[in-house]
Every structure is written in C-alpha cells, then in structure tokens.
Amino acid sequence: MTILNIDWFFALEKLILIAVVITGALVIAMYSTYAERKVAAFIQDRRGPNRAGPFGLFQPLADGLKLFFKEEIIPSHSNKVLFVLGPSLAMLTAMMTSAVIPWGSKVELFGRSIDLQIADINIGILFVFGVVSLGVYGILIGAWSSNNKFSLLGGLRGASQIISYELAMGISLIALLMVTGTLSLKEMVEQQRHGHWNIIHQPLGFLIFLICAFAECNRTPFDLPEAENELNCGYHSEYSSMKLGFYLFAEYINMFISGAVMACLYFGGYDIPFVDESALAVNTAAILGAVALLVKVGLFIFLFMWVRWTIPRFRYDQLMRLGWKNLIPLSLLNMFVTGAWILWKSKSH
C-alpha cells in the first residue's frame, strides 16, 4: 500500500516500534525510582519503600498519582510559556535519543523482516551527541523563566557543566570511532558481535565516557545544578506537581538511555556473550539479544545508583578542574595513543 510514495505498512511498523520503545523507557524509568530507593535503603541498612503492594512494588504508581494530583503552581513573576516549555523540552530530549539505539537484531513477523531499531542513520552516534547537547535547554529555560536567583544559578551551573563535559566525551568518542571506522550504532554492534567488545580496545575511553555520562545526566557526584544545601533544589525550585515530575523523570530516562548507549558502544549491545546467535531461530535470537541488552542497561543503572549513594557531591571548582584539567588531557592522550596504535598496526601488515 503506497500513497504519496510512502510505504504505509513500513510507517505503521515504525510507529508501533516507537510506541513500544517509549512505553518501555517510561516504565523502566518509573521502576528506576523504586530501584533507587531500594538500593539506597540497602546501602544505608534500611528497608526502603515496603507499604504499597508486595515489597512496595506499587510505590512508583502512588508517587505518580501524588504528583498528578498536587496543586499546579505557576509563579506570577515567571514567564508562563517558557515555564511550561522547560520541563517539556527536558522530557523530549531525553526521549529522542532512543531513536537510533539498536534494541535487537531482526524479527520476522507476517512475512516481513523488521529491524528492532527505529532509525539506522549513518550518523547514529552523532545524533545521540547532538540531542544530548540540546538537553541543556530544558534546564536553562526552566531556570531562567522561574525568575528566581537560586534557579538561575542552578541553570547556569548545569549549562556550564554540560558544555565542559561534552568536550571530553566527544574526544573519547573520536578515539572509539577511529577504532570502529563507523558512526552507525547498528554497525558498531555487529562488529562487536563478530569480534571483541570495544571495551577491550578502549578501556580508558570508556572510563572517560562513563564519568562524562554521570555529569551529563546530572547525577551525584555531579548534581550541582540542584544542590539542595546551597541552591535550595536549583533549577526546579519553583516547579510543582507533574512539571517537577517531568524534570525528575527525565533524569531517570537519561540514565536508562545513556546506559543503553554505553552498552552499545563498549559492551556489544544486544550481543549475548559466549553464545553463537546464528545457531538460534531468528526471532528467539532477537528476543534473547534484546533481553541481554536490557540486562546490561540494568547493570549500568545499578552502577549509577551505587555511585550516587557512595560518593558525596563535588565542590564546583573541583568539578571544573576534573573536567578541564584531568579528563580533557586524558582523552586527548587516549586519542593520540589510539591513533599511533592504528598507524602501527596498518604498517606492520
């Protein structure tokens, strides 16, 4: 069926995939809030939420309902349009990155072979990078439109932090791109399925990328934009009800997505370690691969939480020193060594 030169079945297939991915991201982000409290409780030797439902499993639903039913306050001195735009943008940019992540190999349904990836564009990783660099607008716009000095300070901190750590992140990515020779996430995963995981080639690059991912997600020890004790919640001080919920939720979605990106870049994506997928049926292999990816992402989310409840927050000058004086020279060194290694390998052949 084609109207306007579009294959509508193809469009329908992609729409369903988008709906599934976004619903999945939302549900996982919702239960990340529960997991965060349970992990915190475990680390601090407490019980955590255990009242709503068995093991407190309905706690995220209760929290969501609470946020929805709270009174919505828009401060009279704020810029109304931008005040609403801020959290919406934060949520939008958090979601958009999921478009280029390969969630699994192909499945075959009704005689059609369907890629478990919304868009396999040849600049995949740059797209992720572009959307991440836009993530700062949600914070900055929300902070400015609140018309509150604490909010503005938090927003400025967030913006300068994200710009600083983006540089080191980009340079550590360049080293990875030099090794793989492609920008498409799907191709990177396929290479790792047939060879080694990239973590073997780029251990230092991965470490830098991981630290920068913490900073880009505004997670402790980098949560200076919302430092409670000095900025009174920072950029979202003036927000209430579900608009606050959007900001908090966007952080968990960002965590989920950055875990998925790191799994695809360095840990083989949907590759199942020590298993030859070609021996399995196509659909079984795809579903098992997707489960393997989700397990890897789950481990990353746990790492994010573990660090949050272990390491205290940096001071602002420490944060800037780490970014500009340690991470950027290290990533430059990493790029240089990788280049020399590639040159040496091509000469010796």
Partner: protein
C-alpha cells in the same frame, strides 16, 4: 506534490517565520530561542539534500554549543524590553539603509552564478555524507583545512591571554 516537496515548503515557511520572529521579538531571550528554531529548520533542509553529517554538525555546533553561550550571556545580563535603551532615530535609518545595501549587493552577486542555474539535488546528492566530505576535505582541501584549524588555535590562545590579564 511529493512528500519531499511538502517537507521543503513546510520547512521553508518555518525557517522564514522563525527568522522573522528573531527580529520582531521584544525579549532578547525569545529572540535567541527563535534563532535556535531557525537553526533546526536549516538542519532539516540539509537532511532533505541528503547531507546528514552537515545537518547534525549544524545542530551540535550552532544549536547545541554556540546558542547555549548566547543564551547564557543574555540571561546573565538580564536584558528585557524595559531596560533596553531607545536608539537614536538616525541610527535606525542608517541601519536600515546599510542592511538594504548588503541585501542588494548579495542578490546582485548571486543572481548570475552557476549555483543558481543548477537544479537542487533533492535526496540524491551525496557530498554531505561523512565519507565523501572527509575525502574532499582531507584530499583536495587539506591545506585550507589545516590553516583554519591553526586559526582556531590562535583564537583559543588569544582568549587565554585576555583571561589571564587580571592576574
């Protein structure tokens, strides 16, 4: 009308509309935000020309980095319609005349160039893809490319020198 043409006209309307909003917004922060929308629409045009790499670099560099700094400065200076000083009437006239002169020169210069006579290659051109662009930059235009990177370096050194002056 195919889907490409519909998208083209939609993006064109959006880019012109948001560019006009940049000029007519009273609030400088709104102007900056409209400028970001403009950059996005231009990236959309790049994608229609099958130049995905240029499109995403436009988003990363202009919308993602430079405009953040603009927004930063505008927010810190706390400019708004009330504190904006009223410009001299003659200055406005001079600005309008100078701007129109520039437009006239640009139109006259570009009217008869080769680029105007060529049909735009929708969806078929491939110079904007990263592989081809890299080949052209590092094979045909290597020297200008390296010289421009040295220029960037000198700009960075200059910033450091200005920043160190206070000590």
């Amino acid at each position: 009308m195919g889907i490409t043409q519909i998208l083209f006209w939609f993006l064109t309307a959006l880019v012109l509309g948001s560019a006009l909003m940049v000029i007519f917004s009273k609030n400088p922060v709104h102007s900056v935000l409209w400028l970001i929308v403009t950059f996005f629409c231009i990236s959309g045009h790049y994608i229609l020309l099958n130049a995905q790499f240029l499109a995403i670099v436009n988003v990363i560099v202009y919308a993602g980095a430079i405009m953040v700094l603009f927004l930063f400065v505008v927010m810190l200076m706390n400019l708004n319609a009330e504190t904006e000083p009223q410009k001299n009437k003659w200055l406005k006239f001079a600005g309008a005349i100078a701007g129109s002169c520039l437009l006239l020169v640009l139109v006259a210069a570009l009217k008869d160039t080769d680029a105007m006579r060529q049909e735009v290659l929708m969806k078929t051109g491939d110079i904007g893809l990263i592989h081809n662009l890299g080949m052209v930059l590092f094979r045909d235009y290597l020297l200008p490319f390296e010289i421009s990177s040295v220029l960037f370096l000198s700009a960075m050194v200059g910033t450091v020198v200005i920043g160190k002056k206070g000590d």
